[in-house]
């Protein structure tokens, strides 16, 4: 039963990711929404096993999502999406636990066998991303905040800051890359 559900879910993810890579932003949004509860549940379990408070799970989830986003060109669209996702998630979870002074073994199956619904579907605010956001250059921060917090479109953001849409896109991508680099290096 669980296996069949997991397989169905993973096929769906692969399909969504293929559409996303073909330029379907809505499919990409749905995919990220769909994987987040699984990532969150596993991050919590990893923290619990390492004797760490589970409230840091959201920081780890956000780091995984950023890595997934910035490394998605390493996904082979002929391959299933889940093993690629879980490899990135495992890497980030191990890094996060190591930073907190714990060495723990994280098994790929921890991700693969986690079903959504095991944890509440809340979405906590994470401290680390927010903190690093404030150290970004003004323009990148403005653009990120406009799109993230005010849920403005690229077009609206461009109008608001009197920028071209291309410049907004560049600032957005650079901001996300810089954020990821800061999260990786500040520890």
């Amino acid at each position: 039963m669980v296996r069949a559900r997991v397989r169905g879910r993973e096929d769906e993810w692969t399909g969504l990711m293929r559409s996303a890579m073909a330029g379907d932003d809505a499919a990409y949004h749905r995919l990220l929404k769909a994987v987040t509860p699984v990532l969150r549940a596993t991050a919590r379990r990893g923290l619990a096993r390492a004797g760490q408070p589970p409230d840091q799970a959201e920081d780890i989830v956000q780091e995984i999502l950023l890595a997934v986003h910035l490394k998605r060109h390493t996904w082979d669209s002929e391959a299933p999406f889940a093993p690629w996702l879980f490899a990135i998630a495992r890497n980030k979870l191990i890094d996060a636990l190591r930073r907190r002074g714990r060495r723990v073994f994280v098994n790929i199956d921890d991700f693969a066998e986690t079903l959504p619904g095991e944890t509440p579907q809340e979405t906590a605010s994470a401290g680390e991303v927010t903190a690093q956001l404030n150290s970004l250059p003004q323009r990148q921060r403005d653009v990120l905040q406009s799109i993230a917090v005010e849920s403005a479109s690229i077009k609206d953001t461009a109008t608001k800051f009197s920028m071209s849409e291309g410049a907004v896109r560049v600032a957005l991508h650079r901001g996300l890359s810089a954020l990821t680099a800061k999260l990786r290096d500040h520890q």
Binding site: A20, G23, D25, A26, Y28, H29, L32, K33, T36, E58, V61, Q62, L65, L66, A67, H69, L70, K71, R72, H73, T74, W75, D76, A79, P83, W84, F86, A87, I88, R90, N91, D95, T123, A124, S125, A126, V129, T130, L133, L144, I147, A148, V149, S151, S153, I154, R169, L172, H173, L176, R184
Partner: protein, 212 residues
């Protein structure tokens, strides 16, 4: 920023397309190569008797060995730039130069050698070999690490070691055209030590630089 907001932001950036790791690796190597060639042209140069040396199978064998290191190392390093990649099923590619060397050493043993074995192994150029291969490797290693940084290797030190192997293989290909020691025993000894040094540097730097 809460996670829903982050997801919305990532989705807004979906249109951004990054180049493939192979393209960035190629670019990195193309930037590093002129520096390595400059070192080669300034301090080494092609050996003067290259035209007649080309008729010596052991001279040609050196290029087969160095390229059978460089090309598989490039292939494996690109494979490992995917986070879910395993070495299983790929490691044998890196044994190709070892196999070629073994065959060449066997071949030389069966011929009537002009010099005793120890002299062939020690050669005349061991010191140059040990400094030239690492020196010419470094610009290529920097380029390779730059390229692989674009990937997402789960084992950064291993990926860095492969960057070391591939750059040593390419540098050794240049060096082989300079060196007058053609005995496979010389290659197996000194090229291997030089390659090991570069590989260790690659692994060390890679373990820091290739984390994503």
């Amino acid at each position: 920023m809460d996670t829903n907001e982050l997801i919305r932001t990532l989705a807004a950036d979906n249109a951004h397309r990054a180049p493939r790791v192979g393209a960035v690796l190629t670019m990195g190597l193309l930037v590093g190569a002129p520096l390595s060639i400059l070192i080669f042209a300034t301090f080494l140069g092609v050996r003067p008797d290259v035209m007649s040396a080309m008729h010596n199978p052991f001279f040609d064998m050196k290029f087969a060995v160095t390229l059978s290191l460089a090309i598989p190392a490039i292939i494996v390093s690109l494979h490992l730039s995917r986070p879910e990649a395993l070495m299983r099923g790929w490691g044998w590619l890196l044994l190709l130069p070892v196999g070629l060397l073994a065959v060449a050493i066997g071949g030389e043993m069966m011929m009537a050698p002009a010099m005793p074995m120890t002299m062939r192994m020690v050669g005349k150029n061991s010191r140059v070999c040990l400094s030239a291969i690492p020196a010419m490797s470094l610009p290529l290693l920097a380029g390779a690490l730059f390229g692989l940084r674009h990937g997402a290797p789960s084992r950064p030190a291993l990926a860095g070691a492969l960057a070391g192997l591939l750059s040593a293989g390419l540098a050794a290909t240049l060096y082989a055209s300079h060196c007058t020691d053609d005995s496979p025993l010389f290659v197996a000894t000194w090229y291997t030590i030089a390659t090991a040094v570069v590989t260790a540097i690659g692994a060390l730097v890679g373990s820091k630089l290739l984390r994503y």
